[in-house]
Symmetry: C2
Subunit: 308 residues, 2 copies
């Protein structure tokens, strides 16, 4: 089993590539849930859903979220009934949230719900939420503390960020099998996901970081940053707010205690010696994933590092 730590969009691209390069049944995905939130009374897990839709072949390749060809009839009607519409939920996507909400209220754990969705959508990879406990990424701005979704979607990551923290993480536990999966992995892949709001929360769940430090198999990361900007989203802004250097080097520093190899973009090749000083092997290549061929090509190179 290959274990893959991921958030949503960026990680989903690499996972799509991995799913084409090896039997998806060999993949165990550990997914960020600190962006989860409740809207319209429905439990929404944006990163889990992006990964589920990607592995089910349903994802929208243009948007990077939601289901391809989805319609927005429910959301429009919710608007007419006085509800908020800033978070774009498609009709098929809403079916996922209705099902998740129903099962959670019936007493199932998020990991059980995720497994059931995975099964019904015929996904062979295993998908684990990082935790069944409620953990929420919160963003401190000059105007006050807001949720990640409010910062990211509603406010389009424009507010100045003073600090990011994961409410509830200290007393959380990893979801069942998460630590076992890491311990039994033949290789670990850290996706090119936001190190502050996607990978950061996973690492902050008590026990996860330590489990990663203890594995003897290769731990391979892929940078979500090229130059001083995130490939998509606000990773560089959030890293700066957390006192991290907003670069591939800054990402690697955050993972240095468990990372063996880091895949960076050719543009950042000059960082190689600094990364090697941290004890991290480097592969500089093209890491932008625009086409399926890009995703498969990068996945192939990552898999080669695992096998090396």
């Amino acid at each position: 089993m290959l274990v893959v730590l991921t958030g949503g969009t960026g990680g989903a691209k690499l996972i799509e590539g991995l799913g084409h390069e090896i039997d998806p049944a060999q993949l165990t995905i550990i997914c960020n849930t600190a962006d989860d939130f409740v809207l319209h009374g429905l439990n929404i897990s944006p990163d889990l859903d992006t990964i589920i839709y990607t592995l089910a072949g349903l994802s929208d390749p243009v948007q990077g979220w939601g289901i391809q060809g989805d319609t927005f009839t429910v959301l429009q009607q919710l608007g007419k009934l006085g509800d908020e519409t800033w978070f774009k939920l498609g009709d098929k996507d809403i079916a996922t949230h209705i099902t998740r909400t129903r099962l959670l209220r019936a007493g199932l754990k998020l990991s059980d719900v995720t497994d059931r969705l995975r099964e019904h959508l015929h996904i062979k990879a295993r998908i684990f939420p990082m935790s069944n406990d409620g953990i929420e990424t919160r963003v401190e701005t000059p105007e006050g503390i807001i949720s990640f979704q409010e910062y990211f979607v509603k406010r389009r990551w424009q507010p100045e960020v003073k600090k990011v923290f994961y409410a509830g993480v200290k007393n959380s536990r990893p979801a069942p099998d998460v630590l076992d999966a890491i311990g039994a992995a033949v290789g670990i892949i850290i996706c090119p996901s936001n190190p502050v709001t996607s990978i950061g929360p996973i690492l902050a769940v008590p026990g996860v970081r330590n489990a990663l430090k203890q594995v003897t198999v290769p731990v391979i990361g892929v940078s979500p940053i090229i130059g001083e900007s995130a490939i998509s989203g606000p990773a560089h802004k959030l890293m700066a707010a957390q006192g991290m250097e907003p670069s591939a080097l800054g990402v690697a520093k955050g993972y240095a205690d468990f990372l063996d190899q880091f895949v960076i973009d050719s543009e950042d090749e000059a960082l190689t010696s600094k990364l090697e000083t941290l004890g991290i092997g480097v592969l500089a290549t093209s890491i932008r994933m625009k086409s399926l061929a890009d995703k498969m090509g990068l996945a192939r190179q990552v898999l080669a590092l695992v096998d090396k």
Copy 2:
């Protein structure tokens, strides 16, 4: 204010007619909620919704339920995720249930939720659920006790019915303003709705029947039965199971303690003398409502009885 007691389909037709004949702001609807149920984790109030959609001009005139031109994307996807699909919920309709469920869980009463939906859909008539308490029509069959929706929709009213009862009604209270509205009405209209599962539960809410008995204004009923069959649905079967004669006369007998006038179909004119023996005035006319003109015509005749 005219007070109208109603269930779903049949009552909605007369209410549509009434809404065209007088200013809808003069109507206060008291609606059955004993068919309410939870499906997909969503609180569904079929009769309230039929009335709301009718008065909002959204209803589907062919089906008699749901919203005209609605799509079924969410339901299809729920099916793929392993959920039941025997109750046809359209996408716009689901927005209603999502909103209702969210507001009920936030602590609002069903009457407040109904009022909010009414307001957002620009409905001028007042719409009250008969009660904010959970009351459930249950159907006793040879195979056991099932919910009304299971009997009516899932099993298409085919099981033999031994008895019908309203679980929870004994300790229920009318929703706020229900008794006051009846007391202050200039006339009361009992819609051509199922006397066992639509009007029966309303009358069984403690205080309602007594309030109807005490009014001095005209109480006008419209028969849901022609000959020995319901105009639509299983009213005749359910009446027989309850020991009621399955005819317009049987319906009138059930309402005799408060009914002043009963509108029956011309086909049933022969019942006139028996009805008059009960102290009930009779109007025999065409009571089938297929077109809007039929609905308006019948409404006009009912309003004339109120004014007489």
